[in-house]
Amino acid sequence: MSCEKISNALIAYLDGRASGDERFVVEAHLKLCAACQERAEEFRRLWNVMAEVPSVEPSPAFDARLRQRIADAPKPKFWGWMIPAPRFALALALLVALSVWVGGRQPRSVNPQNTAANSEEQFRMIKDLGVLENYDVLSNFDALSDLPASAQPAQDQQQKPPSDAPGSGSGA
């Protein structure tokens, strides 16, 4: 087995946690490879050197500080359940805001009386729709405005009621 392949098993071999198979493979390789043997020795020495570093003692006030911190912490409020799930709280708030916004865009609720009045008005508009369309066509009919002036009174007279045209046909 190559040195590279042995490398991952080497640490487990040196700390005594390698399986039986791993140990066998590493030992076989170390017998043949002087470089890996040297490296294994250096790892052992490295661990001894690292063990020289002493551990530190926590300061005597450590426990008291922690107790004080716990005592000073604000007690959870009734919405405290939201604090561990801020994303959920935000999603909920957005959902409520969206509901309010969409609700505001809907038509106001209508009472039956208003509905009946609206329907009647709409019916009248539909009934007069033909007149309205004719009026629209005639008022925008350019050909009528181009007629000679003499023709216009005649046209006007035709449109006027009979009582308003005592001298009718004088221009004809």
Partner: protein, 204 residues
């Protein structure tokens, strides 16, 4: 019969404050040491350890024993330490053995036991070198080495704390120790006398 850590934590969940005191007493020192090796400064390490225990206490009601208590505890500590390092809130003083010294600064001298009279000073400098070398490791490698070497954790547990497989962890550890072996070569190298002796034996 002594209660397990998980049982103690379940008792804390049930409102037993004394069980929390027992867990605090048991893990205060390992946790401060772990964090000290992660961020170097003891005061900072203690601040972070306070935060870890505070979070454990605050989360007691939601605690469910899905993993070993130490896995949970050290995962919180690891996340806090890594966040603190990344935030740059706690600037660590790192020693780079390879970095060139400033002109007015004396060149870094490797302390040798024979050359220095003051053993305490030598010891302190050696410790600083070792701590400094560990601090120069990439974050994940540093966590792996500290938990493996100083807390004697098994591969499965370190893997859970770091969120990686055992095989990936072994590779990570190998690379980390290889880096340390090179960085601390002068401390790790075989004593000259021993090497010379071996050479003479070969000659004979």
């Amino acid at each position: 019969m002594a209660r397990s850590d998980v049982q103690l934590m379940l008792d804390v969940k049930a409102g037993d404050e004394l069980s929390f005191e027992l867990l605090l007493h048991k893990y205060r020192k390992p946790l401060v040491n772990f964090l000290c090796r992660m961020v170097r400064d003891q005061a900072v390490a203690e601040d972070l350890a306070q935060e870890v225990f505070f979070r454990v206490y605050r989360a007691r009601k939601e605690y469910s024993p899905s993993a070993k208590f130490t896995t949970w505890l050290f995962r919180i500590a690891t996340n806090l330490a890594l966040n603190a390092i990344r935030d740059g809130r706690y600037r660590q003083m790192q020693i780079s053995i390879d970095a060139p010294a400033a002109e007015d600064e004396p060149a870094f001298q490797l302390p040798s036991r024979e050359a220095r009279a003051d053993d305490k000073l030598i010891e302190r400098e050696r410790n600083q070198m070792i701590r400094g070398a560990i601090l120069t490791l990439p974050e994940k490698q540093r966590v792996a080495v500290v938990l493996h070497k100083y807390h004697d954790m098994d591969y499965a547990e370190i893997g859970k704390i770091l969120g990686c497989s055992e095989s990936a962890l072994k590779s990570l550890l190998f690379r980390a120790y290889e880096t340390l072996r090179v960085q601390l070569a002068l401390l790790v190298a075989r004593p000259a006398a021993q090497t010379a002796g071996e050479g003479k034996r070969h000659e004979l």
